[in-house]
Symmetry: none
Subunit: 233 residues, 2 copies
DNA sequence: TCTCAAATCTAACGAATTGTAACACCTGCA
DNA sequence: TGCAGGTGTTACAATTCGTTAGATTTGAGA
């Protein structure tokens, strides 16, 4: 469970294997399905980080599937479809898809779009290199964490990457896959552990109670949520 | 909260006014710029939620601009470009753009894609989401259950799912099927048992008398009913 | 009422996930 | 060269949560 997992649902075998090859090349784990039935069975067991879905399926209405996926699972959903009409794209996106790619597609673009999605659309943050949250002030330009009392603690670059990710998306679930993507992960097999360690070190500097962290919450099997009230500037 | 703010940067006046009209129609505030210089000045003052950027600008290298925007501001960046080569799209996305739309574009699709991007920014946890019932206070933002006396008991994510389900539908029968549906719908054969266990653990934390539960009632053969007097806030 | 099968409860186990201390390997610098 | 701090890796501890299995409860029918 270290690389982001991508489910591919398409009835054309050539497309499946093409996508599968390209994505594995790009450092993702993939699992392919030819029909919605088997796709859903697999979904019940694991939640992928991204779903690539073809709409023209023999055994289900693709749009309904996309809607459910986006709503219930929270996975990133990308539609890959031969239907090129603007109306198709609009309804697909309205129903919850995060992107819509038209066949024939270029594999490189698919990879690029997946990366962009995993990186995550960040909410707009104020310009400036400092953020305030729950009594702390993080100075990213100086790599300094400031106490309510003004006491300073330095933090390293690796720690700043994690902290920035949290502060840019407070109160949102951040999956490990997203972190890996955002932190320029080298897709190393054991990067999961490295991330744990980064977070652990960050927690120490934020003086979190190990038994009961207030700011960085772990969601078992899903990721982390940063619970601070953040303001940039 | 006011309307999301969108900055439009394009050197063609017709495109600017077209986008501007459509987006205002769709409920956004917009601000248009014909050249990068004025765009950057405005950026220094306000941070938009979304930037629509044309890459073929007279006075700046668009890609550099996008890179800076994405990196420093964290705004959602959507490139609108006449350059249709796959390579252009890939590098644009790699540099931090969140989407890449090719000219000529359909206004409806632009709106749909903006919506899709902004949708992802919703918080997973509302700040201060708490519910009171029968002397207890459930803090879903902190995963904490609070006693009348103020004593705190943490609860896990899995437990929070069940508890939230109950608190959102108090005094109503909740069938096991409904639960399964709401709790990730892993139609696993033995998921029934897993749910029992979750409820059992929840009961323990709520200090229910096993012989005579006051809050979570089992309806043999039908489901459960939560009997608390719930008030959210 | 009594009996029994189905439904439910829960203690205990174990697989998967996460936390973190300790170590190793860098890099930059005096 | 030696030192200091940063960072990934390893190894092991702790936690979460589904599963199992046996006990207990329920309600329909005898």
């Amino acid at each position: 469970m270290s690389k982001p997992l991508i489910f591919i649902l398409d009835d054309e075998p050539e497309i499946r294997s093409l996508l599968s090859d390209v994505l594995q090349e790009a450092g993702y784990d993939t699992q392919s399905f030819g029909r919605a039935a088997s796709f859903e069975i697999a979904l019940a067991q694991r939640t992928p980080d991204v779903c690539l879905v073809d709409l023209s399926l023999p055994d289900t209405d693709g749009l309904t599937l996309v809607h459910r996926l986006a709503l219930e699972k929270g996975a990133v959903v990308i539609i890959i479809s031969g239907r090129a009409q603007v109306q198709d794209r609009v309804t697909g996106l309205e129903l919850g898809a995060d992107d819509y790619i038209i066949k024939p597609f270029d594999p490189a673009e698919v990879v690029a779009r997946i990366r962009a999605r995993l990186r995550g659309a960040r909410p707009a943050i104020q310009s400036g290199m400092t953020a305030r949250f729950n009594g702390w002030t993080a100075h990213f330009d100086r790599y300094m964490l400031e106490d309510e009392s003004g006491a300073q603690t330095p933090f390293s670059h690796a720690e700043s990457e994690v902290l920035r990710l949290f502060l840019e998306a407070p109160k949102r679930l951040i999956s490990r896959a997203q972190m890996q993507e955002s932190l320029g992960a080298t897709a190393s097999e054991s990067f999961d552990r490295a991330m744990d360690v980064r977070i652990s070190r960050l927690r120490t500097k934020l003086r979190e109670d190990p038994k009961n962290p207030q700011l960085i919450k772990t969601i078992y099997g899903a990721g982390y949520i940063f619970l601070g009230d953040v303001s940039w500037g």
